[in-house]
Amino acid sequence: MAMSQDEVFAKVKDVLVDALGVDEDEVTLSAKLSADLGAESIDYLDIVFRLEKAFNIKIQQGELMPESVLNDPKYVQDGKVTDAGMAELKNRIPFADLTAFEASRKVTDFSNIFTVDTIVKFVQKKLG
């Protein structure tokens, strides 16, 4: 039977508490991983590894955090994501809400799209 959103959220919360050393009550659906919970780049790899274990899923490199898009001059110019880059991001991470990012498109703002809710949606999509 498919897991409910609440069940996925509870497990994601455990993963984030372990990976980021934050308190449970800090892990709300709207909390941003980097800005609110202090996640750094290596933490995203840690989170991916822990999600794989917690949900018994396999996550390919770049599936959650599409670094290759953000490092590709074809998709990024002058520190901002191009139209082609935005299209690629929408294709690569359909589980993420890119509405707010669309306004600035600055690579330095990209991590803001990762909220706890983004992770929950990502896992739900992986679980099918």
Binding site: D18, I42, L45, D46, F49, E52, K53, Q61, E67, N71
Partner: protein, 183 residues
């Protein structure tokens, strides 16, 4: 030079597990500062937990590097957990046992234990001393835009010598002269 905080590798199972030993001795300056005598207390030399973490990191780092034949520059990126339950004094031996939880192109997640052996009482069982979890990054794959030297400055000839002295094969590609670092 750099500090090598393990003396011998006992086991090295590719991509799975590495076990290493470190003898702790009063010849190491750091023990005299950790902790010196005061007016109220005699000298209390104990191995600093930070350096025990370094020894574990070297054990786990060799394991992660060996998994890809030392092609990757493996850098300690995160200490997820390090819980200590006993001290280690001069005359003791530390045994580091590290395992790979997950390895991919970006890096690796490792975990393991540190135990304390007492060569003065070899019949005694090993004392659990610490549980550690740490992550390593393959930096050439995670720091695009930054240039690193071509030679593998992580796994120096000192580490390769340690492997050889412990009886393990060193990949032919890693047998090389010391790098020329310029004037």
């Amino acid at each position: 030079m750099r500090w090598i905080w393990i003396d011998r590798i006992l086991e090295l199972e590719k991509g799975r597990r590495c076990v290493a030993l470190k003898n702790v001795t009063l010849a190491e300056d750091v023990l005299h500062d950790h902790f010196p005598a005061t007016a109220h207390r005699p000298a209390t030399p104990v191995m600093p937990n930070t350096l025990i973490i370094e020894g574990f990191a070297q054990t786990a780092g060799i394991l992660v590097g060996h998994a890809n034949d030392f092609k990757e520059k493996v850098i300690l990126a995160k200490i997820g957990k390090a819980v200590f339950t006993a001290p280690c004094r001069p005359g003791h031996t530390l045994r580091f046992t590290a395992g790979i939880e997950r390895l991919d192109a970006s890096g690796a997640s490792t975990s393991g234990i540190v135990e304390r052996l007492d060569p003065g009482q070899p019949a005694l069982p090993a004392v659990p001393l610490a549980k550690i979890e740490m992550m390593f990054s393959h930096i050439d794959r995670n720091m695009s835009g930054l240039d690193f030297p071509d030679f593998n400055f992580v796994f120096t000839s000192q580490f390769m010598d340690l492997l050889k002295q412990s009886g393990f094969a060193v990949p032919a590609s890693e047998v090389r002269p010391a790098p020329n670092l310029g004037p």
